[in-house]
């Protein structure tokens, strides 16, 4: 098992190198001038020459690539062309938002989607099944931004002054703040050493748990509910449909008949004997959905006023902010590789036949 995962990890290296190459080339193939995007149309040629010189953009492409690779391998992701700040700083700001949102969205999608699929399969062809699947199909076809707008309208505006009100925008109520855990714990960190703690502290709900600030946790969580539902609905519907169809297939197999003949109750047959066998394709879907959630959701982030990966990626692509695009793409690729690794490990856990290979 360990060697299996080690092998998969080794295989990830060429994948990541390939990604570096492709994003590097694609950003440079885009027409447009990073200098004038960053400094404005009125920037003079002298200013732009100095700008390009500062960021090494006057070097030949292959030289730029060599420097870039060497920097990345040394852990230096560079400086944003537009903001003039290190990209790592931007990541500490933006990634936690997307991570938190993706986590809650996926939690919602899995905890609701799998039971819905099971119920649907259990009551196959009944009105419950049909009803659930109609909702799942609506969920898949729902435009995310529209759902987001409707959710913020209903929960943020219509239900205002009721207990069901939920904050339609932002990450925390204005004035509310959660003490970073490294401060609360009296850790003395600053400068580069602050990168990781700062990153973790910026995941509001996690930080609130670490410092046991329950009010802060509830506030941060409430802010996540609506966006998480908005981006989680499509994966939820896909998971529910996949669980249902995979389970229905499994429920026709011989060992299910054996389980019934053994006197296992029908719920036990479906959950204990059926579900685990049916989960493989569902796990794949969960992994893929989580990967795409982590690459950011521009529309949802915009609707709910969240500054996550989706928005910065969008802005940097349109603004020709090469370093930011490259760095965020790389980190998303790392997430994907990591998720795939977990999916593979889950496969082996779920199905002993895979462990042998």
């Amino acid at each position: 098992m360990a060697s299996y995962l080690a092998r998969r990890l080794t295989l990830a290296i060429p994948v990541l190198l390939g990604i570096l190459f492709v994003t590097f080339s694609l950003t440079r193939l885009l027409p447009g001038d990073p200098c004038r995007s960053a400094l404005g149309e009125k920037a003079t040629d002298e200013i732009c020459d100095a700008f390009n010189d500062r960021y090494g953009l006057n070097d030949p492409i292959y030289e730029q690539f060599r420097i870039y690779i060497s920097d990345v391998l040394h852990g230096n992701l560079g400086e944003s062309l537009k903001f003039g700040r290190p990209v790592t700083e931007l990541m500490v700001e933006r990634l936690p938002v997307t991570l938190e949102l993706s986590f809650f969205a996926m939690l919602f999608a899995v905890t609701v989607g799998i039971p819905l699929g099971v119920i649907s399969a259990y009551y196959h062809n009944s009105s419950i099944d049909v009803g659930t699947m109609i909702w799942a199909n609506i969920g898949v076809s729902m435009p995310v931004f529209w759902l987001g707008l409707m959710l913020s309208y209903v929960f943020g505006v219509v239900l205002k002054d009721t207990p069901f009100w939920l904050p339609p925008t932002g990450r925390l109520t204005a004035g509310q703040s959660i003490e970073p855990f490294y401060v609360a714990w009296g850790l003395n960190v600053d400068g580069d050493a602050l990168t990781l703690p700062g990153f973790i502290a910026n995941i509001n709900t996690l930080n609130a748990l670490l410092v046991r600030d329950w009010d802060g946790f509830v506030d941060a969580f409430k802010h996540m509910v609506l966006p998480a539902i908005a981006v989680g609905t499509i994966p939820l519907s896909i998971i529910a449909r996949m669980t249902r169809s995979s389970l229905l297939e499994v429920l026709g197999l011989n060992y299910i008949r054996t389980a019934r003949a053994k006197g296992v109750r029908e719920m036990g047959v479906v959950v204990k004997h059926g579900l685990r066998n049916a989960l493989l394709p569902v796990v794949t879907i969960i992994g893929l959905s989580l990967g795409s959630l982590l690459s950011g959701a521009v529309l949802t982030e915009t609707v709910f006023g969240l500054s996550g990966v989706g928005r910065i990626l969008y802005d940097s692509i349109t603004g020709r902010d090469y370093t930011v695009v490259q760095a965020f793409t790389l980190i998303i690729a790392v997430f994907f590789v990591f998720i795939n690794l977990i999916v593979d490990a889950l496969y082996a856990y779920l199905d002993p036949r895979i462990r042998l290979e």
Partner: protein, 340 residues
Amino acid sequence: MTKHQHDFQPSTNSQPLLEIHDLRTYFFTRDGTVKAVDGVSLTVERGQIHGLVGESGCGKSMTAMSILRLVDKPGRIVSGEVLFKGEDLLKKTRHEMTAIRGKQISVIFQEPKSSLNPVLRVGTQLIEVLRIHEGKQRTIKRKDAVEQLRSVGIPDPDRRVENYPHEMSGGMAQRVMIAMGMACAPDLLIADEPTTALDVTIQAQVLDLIRKLRDEHEMGVILITHDMGIVAEMADIVTVMYAGTAVEEAPTVELFETPLHPYTQGLIASIPVMGQVKERLEVIPGNVPNLIDMPPGCRFAPRCKARIEHGLTRCEVEEPHMIEAKPNHFVRCWLYEGES
């Protein structure tokens, strides 16, 4: 062929273990009603092996599944009685049925490897039966599973109990299935083609095991097979099925010595005999009728040579009844009706 015959004495005073009366299980499909089981009656006594033979699709397995009420949709048991120890299983609640399955009646299926759950260890699957029915959640442990495996002759059960089904051979997996079936010492064991997917040598071992367990536990066995050789070897009494209905029932020796129904005669004639050279094996001409458009009258009539030889005319018009042509020998054929 008779050397293993069990000395079976039908008990006349006590009630039989299982009595099926006129069981009918139909499948309601878009193309029409498939009468998979259409009026089957049979009786199984304690300690008796009751063979159920017939071609594929004649309703043998469906009869067994109907006993357990495990008929999948769109199938439904439409009428009949399944008296198990005097109580009609068809009138039990779902809850009562789950308590009976695996405990008082258990089944061994045809393909052992696909009949075991691939993601659970065989030990876990064995313990599950005991936990469901014996209700001793905590006290049932791995060693009980090891004991069960040992009792069905699995070598090295201590190690095997940790195996997954894909790590076992077919024969080994079938022993596990038998161990699972026998775990709660059932009164009735249904063996649905238990050896069809196995090598000949393993077949003999598995059949021996079933016979041995029958002797030890005095349980009744319904042995479903299409192999006349296995029936001759194992069964005390045989019911021959054709197109969803029973056509003949007799003690095994009697059936093989004097088969009455033309279909049974054909089946027995088609067994190749060692040392006897034939140009071609005997076959029964024609095919099993479509279970949706059953011919009126006798279902075997279109393939029946005897009908033509004896110049019978009502075969194709009127369905014959199951009659006792000889003592304990029942047959459904116009050739014998009126004689008894």
